[in-house]
């Protein structure tokens, strides 16, 4: 019995040490990344018109609007059911009490690129900062310029229905230490790759996840446990072998598959509020990337 107790104590100590270490590493890396962002943020002046387009290509409007509850644009409250519980998208209008009215440009950049709240706590990975971390600071400053002009909407969003232990800073630090590279210097090789992997954050739904909710192998090969319990199809070049370039651009424009069927589920919102509103050139870039050898992992 004494041995068992000692073993349990040892396991708990090692686990505790790992958590503390993960927390310390993530805090340290985040601090360095924040300092870099503060410097970068000063160099950019945002363009609100371009920012609206960045919001479209990043899916901000689709996720932060509760269409089913007839919510106002960007006022949050949309429920997303995940294997870990239900999360509600936040209100990102400039309302100072229920939205992000008290945020600065730097707060916004830190939230989107580093996944940290202005109070220093970490966001859950339901917020796709792993992908947004790869977005250009210029695009995000434009996005902030547009968001700053959006009318404030008072809408108090429900708290996430996720076990509090999973939402603690220590747990989220561990998650970040495993699955999020805050200091990534990833450069997109093409506009299409940028739209798919950074702004469009397609991996978030179209990639398999580990039991801890991390993206398994950064491949768009589908996910049988997607958001809201949906099976999300694979969209690697192999999965899309039977689709022509025109089939893909047409799908991105109106949600129609090559056999004449129409998409359903959450992809409907992605098409309606994001890909359908992109320029034809950007839809073509996405199709180019999805059909390329680069997208075969």
């Amino acid at each position: 019995m004494k041995r068992l107790w000692l073993l349990l104590k040892a396991i708990l100590s090692v686990t505790g040490a790992i958590l503390v270490l993960a927390y310390a590493v993530v805090q340290h890396q985040s601090k360095a990344a924040v300092e870099q962002l503060v410097t970068e943020a000063e160099q950019w002046e945002g363009d609100a018109t371009k920012g609206r387009y960045v919001a479209v290509m990043s899916g901000c409007i689709a996720c932060h609007t509760d269409y089913e509850g007839s919510g106002l644009e960007l006022a949050g409250g949309r429920a997303i059911h995940t294997p870990f519980g239900t999360v509600y998208s936040p209100n990102i209008t400039r309302d100072s009490r229920t939205g992000i009215g008290q945020w600065t440009k730097t707060d916004f950049l830190i939230a989107v690129k580093i996944g940290m709240n202005p109070n220093g706590s970490h966001y859950s990975p339901a917020f796709p900062y792993s992908a947004y971390n790869r977005m250009s600071t210029g695009d995000l400053v434009d996005l902030w310029a547009w968001l700053s002009n959006v009318a404030p909407v008072e809408n108090l969003v429900p708290d996430h229905e996720v076990p509090s232990v999973l939402m603690s800073d220590v747990s989220l630090s561990l998650w970040k230490s495993l699955y999020f590279n805050v200091t990534s210097n990833w450069q997109s090789e093409s506009r299409g790759e940028y739209l798919v992997n950074a702004a469009g954050h397609c991996l978030e739904c179209h990639a398999q996840r580990t039991v801890l909710g991390g993206i398994r192998n950064k491949s768009l090969d589908g996910n049988s446990r997607g958001p809201n319990g949906q099976t999300v199809p694979g969209i690697t070049a192999i999965n899309l072998a039977a689709w022509s370039h025109e089939d893909l651009t047409f799908f991105l424009e109106i949600g129609m598959t090559p056999d004449g069927d129409f998409t359903g589920g959450s992809m409907t919102d992605v098409v309606e509020h994001s890909t359908a509103l992109l320029t034809a050139e950007d839809r073509a870039s996405i199709a180019d990337y999805l059909k390329s050898q680069r997208n075969t992992q």
Partner: protein, 154 residues
């Protein structure tokens, strides 16, 4: 016209693969699935013309709009609130159709109205560019309805 017929035949063959999965369907479930398949054939035909895979033929657009209106109107009576209609395999219908019947009815009526506008447009012009928008507007209802009222595909 020959080209259009060929295209329709190929589309029908493609859809028959899907239809075979529906061969177990009976009664209203078969009726509504057949209606959906017929609309998919027409949608594909028109879409292939917009994609440049086939020469544009306004008659195909008119036929598609006609089919959308016909099957849309039929749809109203194809979802009775019965145990069979709600649950018999291989239905893909979600309970929201009956639980939020008003929204479903409204969505179907909107589809019919916008399909009628497409029909009128196809009577007035044979310009491909001019017909793209009303086709998009009418078919946007398809994914809107699938999102709320059809089980996601596995």
């Amino acid at each position: 016209m020959k080209c259009y017929l060929k295209l329709l035949m190929i589309a029908a063959l493609c859809i028959s693969a899907v239809a075979s999965a529906h061969s177990d369907a009976t009664g209203v479930i078969k009726e509504r699935m057949d209606g959906m398949n017929a609309m998919a054939v027409h949608s594909k035909t028109v879409a292939d013309m917009f994609k440049g895979k086939q020469a544009f033929d306004v008659i195909a657009v008119r036929d598609a709009a006609d089919a959308f209106v016909y099957h849309g109107q039929s749809m109203v009576g194809q979802f009775p609130d019965t145990e069979f209609s709600r649950t018999a395999k291989p239905t893909q219908a979600l309970p929201a159709i009956w639980d939020d019947a008003e929204a479903f009815e409204q969505a179907v009526q909107q589809f019919i109205q916008q399909s009628k506008k497409l029909l009128i447009a196809a009577d007035l012009t044979s310009d491909q560019t001019a017909l793209k928008k009303p086709f998009f507007v009418a078919t946007k209802n398809c994914s809107g309805c699938h999102k709320r009222f059809r089980q996601p595909k596995r």
